[in-house]
Symmetry: C2
């Protein structure tokens, strides 16, 4: 409780800064607000067993793609928690930061879903590429909808209820054709043919950004051509070979720093 | 084999760039070079079962803190592999990039050992801080030397045999007192009192950098004072709350971008 209080007080002093913490924001979907939360739900377990909340206690709550606010435990039985909520002001729109990733192995995809959400990605497109293993698309991560859990975990970690749009059934070509405005800053990581280090690339702060990264084995020649034809600049991340999930975090961090967000 | 060949050919075309790959550099300690590699060793398993190497086949090898080169399987029995090596030129020194981390839980420390090594950290100091759980120091990660395995994995991933100096028995104060030159760029992540975003901090490319990051619960007031007294600028990583391991990767990436390395 002391640590939580400290966090809140300091957050008030400077609302743009929040310290490190383990998951303290608890997220709810709009449809869940008017029904009890089963005790077996991971959030109920977290509230009762980790945060030690009982009847009358409050906690930091968020509405998915809505405001943050305060939840209150109004009843607690062996079967369920009953909660009430007081929501804060509507969230301000986030800077558009899209990520296109060649479909990676499921464990890598789980980390990217969580960490790219935490870092503030507004869209995550996992795409079929020529060098990606098509078997990865069969994972229950995608077919059973398990991906959403990792996105929510990333948003809770960030202390921001906004989650990215996520797609995972398209080819790279389909996503490239569907990209919105032509003025977007378009960057593709390519350690073979990228001529500029990402860190040396000038990013205009006001423009939406989309960043593309291949699967483990990178882009095919045809995909490089398609990326270039759609206005993507090929950039690299230096001489060291990163894991795909580290490359995503590193690239998003560098882009966020250029956008003034980090 | 095709993917490996492609990687090597392209690496020749531009020796500063290397594509994504799973562990293909196999590292050896100097003392291991003149004895057979037991078949149960993880590198033997990797060479035979993943890379499918047999007698006469070659592979990318590295000598810890020494050169890269080519290994050759010269004999293969049920008990061991016999290897020979042809080493390349001695490595060029790496830019000094130190990391100080409040001792985190072991799972977080494992990720940081691997990923900070991959990103090119030259020193990793895990330190006791007022808000870090002292129990974390009892982990076999430290007491049994398991930490080294994660560092080696990070170096193999980076395709660079150089590994950082690692310490994990000192307090923050001891490490601060032992820092070498006064001209080093000294940065500490502090989402409470950091006044400047890391991305907006000007880093002089030629200077060694040391970056300090607290454990989950951050720095105490006394630690902030000690950091400031030792010339550390307090910086933040924006409004979003990152996992400690993501904050390390993000911060090192932003610093590396400023140093022209990424």
């Amino acid at each position: 409780m002391a640590a939580l209080k400290l966090r809140r007080d300091t957050a008030r002093a400077n609302p743009n800064l929040a310290p490190f913490s383990r998951v303290n924001l608890v997220l709810f979907e709009p449809a869940e607000l008017d029904r009890p939360l089963p005790r077996g739900d991971r959030r109920a377990v977290h509230l009762v067993e980790v945060l030690r909340r009982g009847v009358g206690d409050t906690f930091d709550a968020g509405l998915v793609n809505g405001p943050r606010g305060q939840g209150t435990v109004t009843a607690l039985t062996a079967a369920a928690l009953t909660l009430s909520f007081a929501w804060g002001p509507p969230p301000t729109p986030r800077p558009a930061l899209g990520l296109i990733v060649g479909l990676p192995r499921p464990q890598t995809a789980r980390d990217i879903l969580r960490d790219a959400t935490t870092l503030g990605a507004t869209a995550l497109h996992f795409v079929r590429t020529e060098k990606a293993d098509p078997g990865y698309a069969q994972s229950t991560l995608w077919s059973a909808g398990a991906w959403r859990r990792h996105v929510l975990a990333g948003a809770e970690q960030a202390f921001d209820p906004a989650i990215p749009d996520v797609t995972f059934t398209h080819s790279l070509a389909e996503i490239l054709d569907a990209l919105p405005a032509p003025t977007v800053t378009r960057l593709a990581l390519d350690n073979y043919e990228g001529a500029t280090a990402l860190g040396d690339f000038h990013v205009i702060r006001e423009n939406p950004v989309v960043f593309a990264i291949g699967a483990e084995r990178g882009w095919s020649a045809a995909e490089r051509g398609a990326l270039r034809a759609h206005g993507f600049a090929l950039v690299h991340l230096g001489a060291r070979v990163l894991r795909t999930e580290s490359a995503v975090t590193a690239a998003l961090a560098i882009v966020c720093a250029k956008l003034g967000l980090m």
